[in-house]
């Protein structure tokens, strides 16, 4: 999605987080002992399983809830999740793949100009918040999209949102504001 008539900003998706349920109780101990690439964190009660093919790290709870992180696209996330469910199935659990949902998408985008942060904050008062003592970036929240953007003075912007579309439209929305306060 282009942000401006001249410029085509490439938005790089760095992380997609998704959840799904297996609708069956999982014996973490068994997974931990028989899985080849798992880390068993007994004190918190979860198992980390890492897949190589879509690079994915999954956190598995005994209740059957699984969170998958590390994918670089929504399709990849789904593929990885299904792979994971299949491997759990092979371990002997009656897995049913339900409630798959992409929960969070993290993307990075680079503006070709620098941004004056104090000025930007003043112009976008309620949405933008800037605390140099705490964090060097301005935190801009778009309530309608439920997206958060972190705008740095070098022009690089980190966006997080519930899905890829929201992230793209967030970047589109912010571009004019950021353009105003450019150096």
């Amino acid at each position: 999605m282009d942000a401006d008539s001249d410029v085509a900003l490439d938005i790089l998706i760095t992380n997609v987080v998704c959840v799904f349920r297996t609708r069956c109780h999982l014996n973490l101990r068994k997974i931990a002992l028989e899985g080849a690439n798992v880390i068993y964190k007994r004190d918190v009660g979860k198992v980390l399983m890492k897949l190589r093919k879509p690079r994915i790290t999954a956190t598995i709870w005994s209740s059957g809830k699984v969170i998958c992180t590390g994918a670089t696209s929504e399709e990849e996330a789904k593929l990885g999740a299904r792979r994971l469910a299949r491997s759990l199935q092979k371990l002997g659990f009656q897995v049913i793949f339900t409630d798959f949902k992409v929960v969070n998408v993290l993307a990075v985008c680079n503006m070709p100009f620098e941004i004056r942060l104090p000025e930007f904050t003043k112009n976008n008062r309620p949405h933008a918040s800037y605390e140099p003592e705490l964090h060097p970036a301005v935190c801009y929240r778009i309530k309608t999209l439920r997206a958060t953007l972190q705008i740095f003075s070098t022009g690089s912007i980190t966006v997080t949102g519930p899905n890829v579309k929201a992230v793209a439209s967030a970047v589109e929305q912010i571009y004019p504001f950021v353009f105003e306060s450019r150096k």
Partner: protein, 622 residues
């Protein structure tokens, strides 16, 4: 004057109107106290403290204190005031005072600012200069050094050093340089102790400043001239450098590719020649290479199973090229094409490696892509099915055998189990001990579920000079209803009570008759105690009769008070519990006198000529 008199009911409070008032008052008071306490430590003036209290009131009314530590909210209110007033207080100071993580405070502060829709103006490092300069003790030259530091800061701002940086760090750097300019030797350590940043941060700021053209000016020049040119922010320049390096690398790799292209064209030519010249050899080689390539393929494609025949052949071709490259490297060297030779060598060294990588990689990639495409198509078809909660696992594109590799066989599982046990030995030990303990306790029958204890509140002994004061203080502590008119209560002690007019109490007369006999025993006790029990007595009354007028409660008061002596014994024993049973006939013994004797004396005096009556004039007061 203190508690109940001026309370106005909150409008539109909904169901909170009556229930939460007392606790609300308590919260606000507590908050006010804490604000003043903290504010005094920060040397904030009264106006600031009042504003902070206003913020706090707003926060409480928006229920922002729920689920948050009161101290955090108080600190956030105070910092908000500091920001709006522009006082040189940092969030770091507050966190130092409270010993709380500064980011936690920051979170609360941001939330507060957002919810109260208060826009805190951005913090300006110039505000901190006078404060830090004072702490660095420049003596007479304090003002001069401050002015120099201010100029430096402005310069830094224009040179874009201040965006995204902690203002305290910038201040520290500016002050250090200013001090040196005026011949004050302040070491980095002294400065960081005052400014509260890390040494490396300070050094970094100094080096950044060094990079700006302003640093080249002498002291006098700096004071007089201002350079026109503005610098880019340091992180930007670093980013630019990176970009440049990347571009260089790209250019290099492009060149390499060009060379590779040339080389591959040479390769083709050579192959053609070879085919023409040595067909048999090629056949032999082809067999060898095919075998090799198969082995290589399977060994390198670990976990990427989907190698079909076509793929194998493609890989074989790639590796054929590889093999030929190695064969003909020597030829190349002999040919001595100078410039290209060198590059050719480098490039040659690379292509074998690349191609061996390229061998497996394209296969995997192509497979991966086709996989996902297949899935996309198939999932589109199946999407409605899946979404309706079918729950069936869509196995398209998932190869079982690959996933089998994720599952260990028995020996491996055993080894892993051992390893894990060793790693987590401590935790497992703890768990075992805990279980053993619980088992033992269960056997002995003492096993108790340990619930988090609510620490019992310790009450301070009330110290007051008059009975009235004591009552006030006690009621303040015990948080009894604000509907009671305490003035009247005080008068009770001084004047006398009215004829009782209570609804459900039948022991009026008995208590009234008994009062004379009780007088002395009453006198020996503290008024506070009976009123203690009175308070308790009142609570159930109040809770059951919320709508009744205060007047009736006043009326009940003297009665309750009259019963008080009777209840005293039980009261003295059951300080914390709820309703106390009526025991007017109980013989009252002289209990320990807990409070001062003076108290008793005054009580005696007060009680001396009393009739336990109360004025009924205050009916209209409410």
């Amino acid at each position: 004057s203190l508690i109940g008199a001026g309370k106005t009911p909150t409008l539109g409070g909904g169901f909170h109107a009556n229930l939460g008032k007392e606790s609300r008052a308590q919260t606000l008071q507590n908050g006010k106290r804490q604000i003043h306490h903290l504010g005094n430590q920060l040397q904030l003036n009264q106006h600031c403290l009042d504003t902070a209290f206003n913020f706090f009131k707003m926060a409480v009314s928006k229920h922002l204190t729920r689920g948050r530590k009161m101290t955090h909210v108080i600190a956030a209110c105070l910092y908000l005031v500091c920001r709006t007033e522009g006082t040189p207080h940092m969030l770091l100071d507050l966190s130092d005072l409270l010993q709380v993580n500064v980011y936690v405070l920051g979170k609360t502060f941001l939330l507060l600012a957002r919810e109260l829709c208060i826009n805190a103006p951005a913090i300006d490092p110039c505000l901190y200069i006078p404060r830090f300069a004072h702490m660095l003790e420049f003596g007479d030259k304090n003002h001069e050094v401050s002015m120099t530091a201010l100029r430096l800061l402005q310069r830094m701002k224009r040179d874009w050093m201040h965006t995204g940086r902690r203002p305290s760090g910038l201040c520290g750097a500016a002050l250090l340089v200013a001090a040196r300019m005026h011949d004050f030797r302040r070491t980095v350590k002294e400065v960081i102790r005052v400014v509260k940043v890390c040494e490396s941060t300070l050094r970094k700021r100094l080096t950044e400043f060094e990079d700006t053209p302003t640093s080249q000016l002498t002291i006098d020049e700096f004071m007089r001239i201002d350079l026109e040119e503005e610098c880019d922010p340091p992180s930007f320049t670093a980013g630019q450098k990176k970009l440049k390096i990347q571009q260089l690398e790209k250019a290099l790799s492009k060149k390499l590719e060009d060379f590779e292209g040339e080389i591959s064209s040479y390769q083709d030519e050579i192959e053609i020649e070879l085919e023409n010249s040595r067909p048999k050899a090629k056949g032999v080689f082809a067999n060898f290479t095919k075998d090799d390539s198969i082995e290589d393929n399977t060994s390198s494609v670990l976990g990427e199973e989907e190698a079909e025949d076509e793929e194998l052949e493609a890989a074989a071709n790639h590796l054929n090229k590889d093999f030929y490259n190695e064969l003909h490297e020597k030829d190349r060297v002999e040919r001595n094409e100078d410039g290209e030779c060198k590059n050719g060598n480098e490039a040659l060294v690379r292509p074998p490696a690349l191609e061996s990588l390229l061998g497996p990689l394209p296969t995997a990639a192509s497979l991966g892509i086709t996989e996902s495409i297949k899935e996309c198509i198939s999932t589109k078809d199946r999407e409605p099915g899946e979404n309706t909660g079918d729950g069936e696992l869509d196995l398209s594109g998932i190869d079982d055998s690959e996933i089998d590799r994720y599952i260990l066989n028995d020996t491996e599982a055993q080894i892993k189990a051992e390893l894990w046990m060793k790693e987590n030995a401590d935790y497992l030990k703890e768990q075992k001990e805990k279980e053993a303990r619980i088992a033992k306790e269960k056997e002995l029958g003492i096993y108790k579920e340990h619930k988090p204890k609510k620490s019992a509140k310790k009450r301070e002994p009330i110290q007051a000079s008059t009975a009235g004061e004591a009552i006030e203080k006690m009621l303040e502590q015990k948080k009894i209803s604000s509907k009671i008119n305490y003035n009247v209560l005080r008068d009770l002690n001084s004047k006398g009570s009215n004829t009782p007019k209570k609804e459900d109490d039948s022991t009026d007369d008995s208590t009234n008759t008994k009062k004379l006999s009780r007088r002395k025993s009453i006198a020996s006790r503290n008024i506070a105690n009976p009123v203690n029990s009175v308070g308790k007595r009142l609570r159930p009354l109040i809770s059951t009769l919320p709508a009744k007028k205060a007047a009736t409660e006043e009326v009940t008061f003297p009665n309750a008070q009259a019963e008080a002596p009777g209840l005293e014994k039980s009261a003295a024993v059951l300080v914390e519990s709820g309703p106390v049973t009526y025991n007017p006939d109980e013989e009252v013994e002289e209990e320990e006198i807990e409070e001062d004797d003076d108290h008793c004396m005054s009580a005696l005096q007060l009680v001396g000529g009393n009739d336990y009556g109360c004025d009924m004039d205050d009916d209209d007061g409410y």
